[in-house]
Symmetry: C2
Subunit: 492 residues, 2 copies
């Protein structure tokens, strides 16, 4: 594909060609009609985009809009805008596009009679599921269930998936405290629950970690500790937070101090479990803290966390909303932990294009019906899209592919970081597929400048640039990306 570079990584409003000397890996694109390189014709957003944003702003808050996209022209790893610009997209709708824009296999699923039926006859899944709901689950969502977890509760977004898992944890914990699922509620519990008071309203908590992100509804936001702008002015539960290990990179050069940081974190978790005035029913943890700045911890940390939570009969929930579905080179990031004993629940959303949580056994089903229930309980249309995504991941072996491409990309970024150490600090995510990040002292400027070179890329935490490409990212895209990054830092 390097043979015919139609247009390329240009800055500002001039379309420039990439010099013929730039060598790109000659992998064949998964998408025959994907462009060979980004095209930048205007500032982004350009005149058409700006006009449309201003019209949209009359009715819809657009202050967070980066640019408007033309999804009909986007293809594979490239996102189009209404001004004719075509960017290599390594942000992918905040890590939520799995197998490329306008993926043909997904388009086929979207046009199927079963999909049309699901779109126009949306069921209340708890009361009147369709006859094929079991089959949709078993050939889709459950086909990729984490090892040891056979049940699913479907939801609509990461936040509600997490909150439903919290509810399951509270119900389970109170059931244990009460003496088992057959013990009835007391009159006092029943009456006080209606007044939002103890004992009916549980005096329990969810323990999460500092710099964690678990969503922005009231319960999930109480466990989110990423940024004040997410939390200011919103009432929150008085739930405990433990320090997440602040590892030093490269990991292999800081083994002993990182081990100490992880042990200190585990000690804090244990202390909070034993002493917090609202005892934790569960510990909630991301395999890699994503919104919080791509903070990693070792498999040993998570193994010990599993042991610790078991010791105190506290449930362990893995929030795989951002890390799940292949990006780390495993289908689920927690597979990197090599646990013998799986997390009690695993939540998912984003690249699944639907949401929910997996759990192991019927012991995590509440003792009575309707305790965990809502009108829609998910969306079969979106569950079918996930099924098609899984089929596409299998067809192209995209998890192993992403592990390989991640290694390729990481090595190139290591070289770049050596060349520009002031711009690429704490490069991390080695061996974690394309789930890679680094700190940039001029991060916001880096992200803005990237668009001028036809690269759409996102940040996280205070200073991280995070790569969240699709699973269809290939070696030749990595070449374009790394070349683009060099241009960006030269321009800063």
């Amino acid at each position: 594909m390097a043979a015919a570079i139609r247009s390329a990584v240009g800055r500002c409003s001039v379309t420039t060609a990439i010099p013929a000397t730039v060598r790109y890996a000659s992998t064949k694109s998964f998408f025959p009609s994907e462009p060979d390189a980004p095209t930048v014709k205007t500032a982004i957003p350009g005149p058409n985009g700006k006009k449309a944003i201003s019209e949209l702003d009359q009715v819809f808050d657009t202050r967070s809009v980066n640019f408007l996209s033309d999804y009909s022209k986007s293809i594979g790893n490239y996102i189009a805008d209404p001004d004719g610009n075509m960017m290599l997209d390594v942000y992918a709708q905040i890590a939520s596009i799995p197998v490329g824009y306008n993926n043909a296999h997904l388009a086929k699923a979207a046009a199927s009679p079963q999909m049309i039926n699901a779109l126009i006859n949306r069921p209340a899944l708890g009361n009147f599921p369709s006859s094929d709901w079991g089959e949709i689950l078993k050939t889709g969502i459950l086909k990729v269930a984490p090892k040891g977890l056979s049940n699913v509760f479907t939801a609509l977004a990461g936040s509600d998936a997490n909150e439903l898992a919290y509810k399951a944890a509270f119900i389970y914990r109170r059931q244990l405290e009460r003496g088992g699922p057959d013990v009835e509620f007391t009159e006092e519990e029943i009456a006080s629950s209606m007044n939002n008071q103890a004992p009916g309203s549980a005096q329990l908590s969810i323990l999460s970690f500092k710099t964690a992100f678990h969503g922005r509804l009231f319960g999930s936001l109480s466990t989110t500790r990423s940024k004040p702008i997410h939390k200011l002015d919103i009432p929150a539960f008085d739930w405990p937070q433990a320090t997440f290990p602040q590892l030093k990179y490269p990991l292999e050069e800081h083994v002993e101090e990182n081990r100490k940081a992880e042990q200190a974190s585990l000690d804090e978790v244990e202390h909070l479990i034993q002493n917090w005035h609202l005892p934790p029913a569960a510990v909630m943890v991301e395999p890699i803290q994503s919104e919080g700045g791509d903070n990693h911890a070792s498999p040993e940390f998570f193994q010990k966390l599993r042991t610790l939570t078991r010791k105190y009969n506290v449930l362990l929930i893995a929030d795989e909303v951002q890390t799940g579905i292949g990006a780390t080179g495993k289908f689920w990031a927690h597979e990197h932990w090599n646990l013998q004993d799986p997390p009690d629940m695993v939540t998912f959303s984003k690249k699944a294009q639907t949401a929910g949580y997996y759990y192991a056994s019927q012991s995590l089903r509440p003792n009575k019906a309707y305790r965990q229930f809502n009108t829609w309980m998910g969306d079969p249309a979106r569950a079918m899209i996930f099924r098609a995504i899984i089929e596409e991941i299998e067809r192209l072996d995209l998890v192993n592919h992403t592990a390989r491409v991640g290694d390729y990309l990481f090595a190139k970024l290591e070289d770049l970081a050596k060349k520009y150490p002031e711009h690429f600090k704490n490069l991390r995510g080695k061996g974690q597929g394309t789930f890679i990040a680094f700190d940039s002292p001029k991060r916001d400027q880096f992200l803005a400048t990237a668009k001028e070179f036809g690269i759409n890329i996102g940040g996280s935490g205070a200073s991280a640039v995070r790569l969240r490409p699709m699973l269809t990212l290939q070696e030749h895209h990595c070449d374009i990306l790394v070349d683009g990054m060099e241009k960006i830092v030269k321009a800063l």
Copy 2:
């Protein structure tokens, strides 16, 4: 259509024909292929349904499942199951199917290239909305915006729509307290918010009513007061609740005592606003308390509630998740209130097949970007379905139609209640379209028996049978329904 009744309201497993003497209103069905009457061939669920439920239960909690549906065979107001039964559906997926199963206009929208695009290229609407997002909003969701409310924040389900409205209320209130949108957060606010503590975490509340239902996530559940089973064991905020007026029916026979009940409720609201230890940022109210048992209040009550909330600068949010989109004979149920000054926010979901909240002006937009934000912020695919629903409602004039059909149905139910007063108590919803309910001392048995006569109907509160048909319910369906109800009570 009455000419050829193929099969009819039969009990148990025998298909029986309706006697030729039964006269049905001769309205022409909106759906040419809709059956003339229910068909009941087996117990519901039947053998096929039971087998599929048992298979589904291996992976998905089915204890709340009434029966599995065959949506490919369902049509108009009739729901099919996998055993060949065809029920008149006046429950409609918990009040969420607006214009009939397999509506042709919706099917056309679902098969459109724009829909396929939306399904396979799902955007993060806050960052990268599609170029046509403004047009989708303006030709759909916003075309039916309540009077005085020009902006929308899109969401995914009723619960999160309500919680997003609560967040907007808290942010707005704290902004006022702080002295306006330009006053910066203090260092103490910023630091304390990260610890879930005051002053950063607002010490404020949402005031709701007893027997209200506003959803089941942590914030919304703190305002839900319908049933203990919804609330037990789940931590809740210590937010205030006022008594919702417990009116006596028929309303016209209890004018004075109902007026007193409403005034007592308003006095309680005022007392709580003035005295609750966490001051309310908003009052949340359903135009008709739906899950809580179809509890009504008069327009005067809501007018006074509006005046009261204005007096104390507390926002008024109308939860139209169940009442919205035509069922009460107005597009929005709060139109019955005849307010001069609209509610500050109106939330919607269910029949909209998507969710969100409307608000008036940019003064309810937080002072900074990203304070009200999440990855998807709704689903353009579902927003397009809502647009098609609105088109269909307009084409068939379904809101006025529902007002008329509701009057027709209510009159017939009044007759039935006179004949069987012990089974039809507190008939309510007069002049409220088909949003009708009554109390039945043998309610649960009533609902179960209804299926034997080919009617799918739901309950609410402690003893109410609630009618939640689609907007496509017609007079001849009402005849079948009322005949069926007579058979049900005779069988009880």
